[in-house]
Amino acid sequence: MAEVNWVALTVFVLLFAFVSWLGFAAARWRKGDLDQLHEWGLGGRRFGTLITWFLVGGDLYTAYTFIAVPALAFGAGAIAFFAVPYTVVIYPLLFLVFRRIWYVCNKHNYITAGDFVRGRFDNRWLALAVTVTGIVATMPYIALQLVGIQVVVGALGVGGEGLLGDLPLIIAFLVLAAFTYSSGLRAPASIAIVKDVLIYITALAAIIIIPMQIGGFGKIFAAVPPQKLLLAVPGPNSTGAYSAYATLALGSALALFLYPHSLTAVLSASSGAAIKRNAALLPGYTFMLGLLALLGFFVIASGVHDMPAFHAGFARFGNNFAVPALLLQSFPSWFVGVAFAAIGIGALVPAAIMSIAAANLYTRNIHREFINKNPTGKQEAQMAKLVSLVVKVGALVFILFVPTKYAIQLQLLGGIWIIQTLPAVMIGAYTRWFNAWALLVGWAVGTIAGTWMAIATNLATSYPLELGGHTFPGYTAVYTVILNLGLAIVLTPLFNALSRQPQRDATLPADYHA
């Protein structure tokens, strides 16, 4: 690997040290009793519009996104821009569906999707299915955040082969684990502010300065091969890249707020109005993500992938090295330090929230439901803190000893799995019509079919569905959740007829709005 870039490294380490201090200091911010789960795990539900904006933005637009989306644009072209319609579609869902969920969770002190499903459908097994899906889908996502740190640390010239080379990553993660343990959700909420400011500065600088260096946008797009510039126009009898693009955006959007870490950030808001306002304000991040996606084309035009200085980086990290290489080539060392810190810190925020969300799920919907039914508040908070440690160590071990490509593949599968909780959680926010057992069967069939389809297509995201001589390539998650929902609708009257138990519901219609 190239030699160490001392100036960039110094700036990087200073910024990292600052946010680490901030993470520990956050325990005293809007002080609450951290021995209560809703204080540790939801920041006491006290974040207003602005903090929620930083927290949700820092949570959803992860370091991995900033590395992987431009890398996809660099490698595959226009399809990478699906990230834009994807993050357009999520905010109406936030406005309508997740505001209702916020109200009902606030009213009943629900902390997880499992809590809500348990109360709504009075079925612990359905709640368990939602919980396990959430935890399993989150784990590889945490591991992927580490890839973000690995790439920028490698690009700084630090490390190399073996366990010693992973030392910076291990240190970063121990610090992350420690401040998450002591401060809970307050830590990522405060760090998110620093992270987002750094990311916005980096994105703006890159989008203005790099095109000036290369000679304008016209020159950049002229360097992009024509087959990468636009989506391929579909041939006869197929909806081709169009349906793949649209379903990828739609399915990813439907899945996003079902992830435990998204819901954790939503539930930490102090009011339903704060959520509504954020639905209009959060597209600010989408706009930035779209600009960052264009960096993939800057990479093509700048020619960094052919420069000898970056050969080792591309060989080690593949296309994920595209953005770091571009930044190294285009900016002075001190600013490279700022930009890399933005990406590295950008990994800490979601990783912390994800581990907190997984810990909340285990504590509430597995431990309390099946092991210790009457914990004190203190026992509950203590259990969640411990689980957050276990989850993070698990992710670290995974990334150190398992090839990165498995983490990426598991994360792709995770999207297909988490969307199977849509009927119970999102539609459950509107109606108690479904029979809980019918939902459980739909979930199981959707999960199995989705996994099978993904493996059958070699983990390509889109599945070529054949109907009446036509081919509809589309995101597996969308096809399988339709199957899931259809089954739940058909089986509900059947199960209702078979069962003599009354359908109980702990929530009232008035609980779902102001």
Partner: protein, 68 residues
Amino acid sequence: MKNAERKRGGWSWWYLLFVVQFLVALWPPLYNKAEPYFYGIPFFYWFQLLWVLVCAVLTAAVYWGTKE
């Protein structure tokens, strides 16, 4: 009371603005073209970025329109 509740919990015509956002964003044939360029950026890219801003404005309109 009943009327106010229906207004808050149920359908509002303002939500049609969300439908517009979805339809345009999820219909690639509409924007999968290079022409017209804007400062050298193909239509496919600048249109979708512009649409992000339009959606933010539309969502703000729904927010004000449905405010109690």
